[in-house]
Assembly symmetry: D3
Homo-oligomer: 248 residues x 6
């Protein structure tokens, strides 16, 4: 079972964190192929970065599918490019936000997502709404730049702990969802420290991808995710023309 | 990894169907322990049957947890007794409706649940609402008595196919969710026949239970699912007193 | 006009409080028959207690209907077993939560439900959602064990007053709904003390039950509340088989 | 117990129908005072008629309160002027739409409101939304002019029956709500004919008004329904100035 | 292009403020005709004032349409009488609340409406809900009587600034909507002071009215806003009979 | 007043249609600058095309802002890249879907969007939900390839008319919104033919953009649309780094 995990930002050290988290929960017969996008922002903080991360992400998913991956994971909590990837790919594609929220819903009635920056707050709230969790999940931003999570001296971990403490105190949260792929290595320790379930989206997405493969389920090609029609693409993105991508 | 699958109705032949479906997707290191409730209705069709199936279900989950199960599955599409079971147990508990809807949400934007009888229609619609899928999932009843699914001569399979065809035609469904544990053996064949993903909740729940175990996640004991307080229980249900259950 | 009021917990002193509240508002031609369940928890605090209170509750409603009651009231603010009771009975069944919320909606645009324990908070919020009041009603828990309401020395009344004061101050509440049958005797006094309407669900349910009888309305037997199908019930709950219950 | 029932249109024969329906369900100690507005349209069909019916309605409610009514009912299914009346009056005010929907919610999970004209369809849908019933109630218009209900030769009753039949067939309705005060005399007969509960708002509102009086509940004067501030009113409506109304 | 702006309260000095705000943003070819209602309350604070302002408002819109206005604006943030006016008029009618919320939605994801009194809070929240902004807009009341806005010595401006500051601090507001026509002259200055967009409904409505005229769009006369049926009106409101209004 | 209109697909003939529609409603002092994206798909049909159209769109908006545009319009009914563009630009950005829905809401209570292909159906429904119109707007797909709209011999116009007829008949639509920029030239004629308002998003967006400029309003830079942080972008999209874009 081969699962592709794409870090849609271009920071390879974050891919390492993500890959380690993915491998730590993967089944014994699962191979995790973790790749870093080669095109786009070094971190995804807000709508602009998110939109510009998509082409690089799609390149990696198309390449991964050709190389034999049976499912793909988008390892950014904004679920960047998820719909486009699902339409393009013939393998199932899982976002770490949807996977994390889904997993939380099995073990808690009320929970809080702690994300990084103010710029990501509204996009994550929109995802909570999209995934049908608006009545039970709240969102908080810990005011941490994404890449600060890679730097132990940044104080990011302390800020994160402070925000989790406030979520438990003020939100009646029964569980915590970590709202950034860069926090993937912290879940176990935070769960021990706070005594409530702490959910990391990368791990959750690996298990969902394994589940889809085991169940023989893939993205429906009827309706919203139908395969893109063959048509010309102009300019720098010519190679993304639906036919071109498949054959690339 | 030991996963308890409880059939909360008292029909052992349906447990066999459920167990086979569970085992067919379980991981190589997962042991499926399938049990039939010994107390309650022979099939669960509507609110009354549902409520009366709960005590027998809780007995089995408590027994299963003591016997070493690491997660439990409630194999009735009404997610009968799910909240009570979560509060009681220290292992995670998964309902097959929530598992199926969650799985469908990864592969389709719009889908239809095809359940059995008119009596189950509104309860299943309420679950769709509860799990945040009201904007994307519709519910249909194929007018099949639950136990007819056990009888090849009943015409149940034809009715089910007819209702799926109508769902694809009238609902713009991109995928189908089978709305009864007794349909668990039909998913693969229907998926081939209709060319869209067909999701069985039993299989989906097995993978979610495996995921929760692998991720080290269990029901939060803070808030809604806090362990029941020790207190006297009177009459025929005395043995369900929280302390009694744990020690039983 | 005979109205059955079932206290679904097994504490007879609470039934006395409930019966007194019911009789104090009943019409001159209404006979209140108040019974205590003989099977289940001494108080209902959370999902587990709630589920286990249902069989005893159903026994009392079936018996009451046979004895001539024209309507039944479930005197627990969780509306425990309401749907099952409606499907089983041929007389209308009213929950005190739905009755209280409905009554509040005639006299206030925004109101707050003050319930007992943290365990009941989420279940009551789910009822507020179910009854269509999520946009106008908030829920608070006063952190009072249910049975403390029976004990004047417990400080429960003070906690309740403190929480009501906070609701008026922080929630812009225009009225207060008392979120436990055990508070039924406190409504009038609290209404005087705080100068806003204070609604007790037991009284509200009595008037709704009288209204349904006077209007010649009973539970629809078409759809969700259709009479349970005759079928075998196994084990300790055998006597609950639909036919058995009716004939019992 | 004196209950004022205001017909906010100026057609006295409809007031007779309404009064008879009100008296047929009122308690033995309830006096129904039914009045016809003396100012405004002869029937209320859509937003324009509705708005212009309000001043005449308020005159009658103010006069009724001074004359000793303990509660008031607005006998138009649009709940015309309900919020203004609640702010003005010191007695509780009940709308027949909210009363009917509330009553239906105790006996059916899914129901359909059958109203008169296309002009009333959207306003009634807005009320269904306001009262939190959007998930369970549908609205249909039988294409009947309101005053045709007063004329046996108009064919209105047949149109109404036809629309009810379609509601049962197409909407999975478990009960029917009659969406016009002018249909108040038809409920009992339609209930017999169709075998499902049929709810008339006039009768429902009488019982809700009796309930509020018996429970000692009246409109909260904190927040949205606070007594209007004393201030000048100019022109033809001078006599409506809050002080003037009270002293009138 | 002639646009009628109706101040539905009877305070001419407020009409002056409104007219100035309207003219300051109107196109060079737009003529603003600002009128004061001659019938009703001197200020609109809550449901009662709102309902009584409608007849005077309708008189002015009917007169304005006959005099050649191509669109009408209702300059009260409660959108008083909007639906009735739309049904009556053949020219488009715009409310300042809906215009302001719509404009805010183009430039901010989260915003706060700051209105005047507690009495207007719930009505404005209901409009936010009606216009589909409940997920992104919050409402606050600055506790300012409407006419205090006309009096520089009242301290109203300071209270307004204080509430805006709290909205930015506590609501994560990205923009502010001024929730009263009497604040129309303050928007530009407050925008400079707080560094976020501040939206006045009067200006917004003028541009929406110009847009509708330029696009050749007017109120649909199919469905909810169909022309009122010709019918008798009795008493003091006789002149409002649909035919009478048109011919008046 | 200079307004940039970006056609985010790469088909210049469609830009001509869009530009003509924009100019036909623009104010006398408005200059419409219409540009065709030079990078991406020739038509936008579904999520994949949509995502790949964003970089080319952002290039044009950045260039347009530098060249003096005071507002920008994204002329694709999917509101492709709207959030990213708002975060990037310092001028307001308007999507044609949000503009059209907003305009429809001023003149109709219920309306239907008629879009092109099945692939766009769900994305447009998601926009209807996002913009708060789910309760009043329905979506239909006329099964027309986008570029067929450019070809009179394609039969596209007939299909569109047929779908509009069905919307009026089956949806109780009071107005029609054209769900594709390529239909911009058809609105006036369809409005005449069907006798209900027909709204084209391009025209609507031009008037909204003029309104925002006239009112001195631009995108809030607080919160969700804060200016992207300066950071490295790697690979083919390097030139999109926030700093680079501004200085480009």
């Amino acid at each position: 079972m081969q699962i592709l995990v794409v870090n849609p930002n271009t920071t390879a050290s974050m891919t390492d964190t993500i890959a380690a988290a993915a491998r730590s929960v993967a089944g014994t017969r699962t191979e995790i192929v973790a790749v870093t996008s080669s095109m786009g922002p070094v971190s995804i903080e807000g709508y602009y970065d998110e939109a510009l991360a998509v082409p690089g992400l799609l390149v990696e998913i198309a390449a991964g599918e050709r190389a034999g991956a049976q499912a793909a994971i988008i390892a950014c909590f904004d679920d960047t490019g998820l719909d486009a990837a699902r339409a393009m790919a013939n393998i199932p594609v899982v976002g770490i936000c949807e996977a994390a929220l889904g997993m939380a819903s099995f073990i808690a009635q009320r929970f809080t997502v702690v994300t990084t920056t103010q710029r990501s707050w509204v996009p994550v709230e929109a995802l909570v709404q999209r995934y049908g969790m608006a009545g039970r999940a709240r969102v908080r931003a810990a005011d941490i730049p994404v890449l600060a999570l890679e730097d132990p001296a940044s104080g990011a971990a302390e800020k994160l702990r402070g925000e989790i403490a406030r979520a438990l105190d003020e939100d009646r949260a029964e569980a915590i969802v970590l709202g950034c792929a860069g926090m993937a290595d912290l879940a176990a320790e935070l769960q021990r420290a706070f005594g409530v379930p702490v959910i990391d989206g990368v791990g959750a997405a690996v298990k969902q991808a394994e589940a889809l493969i085991a169940l023989g389920l893939s993205t429906s090609k009827r309706g919203a995710y139908a395969t893109p029609l063959a048509k010309p693409y102009r300019g720098a993105l010519e190679s993304f023309a639906p036919g071109a991508v498949a054959a690339e």
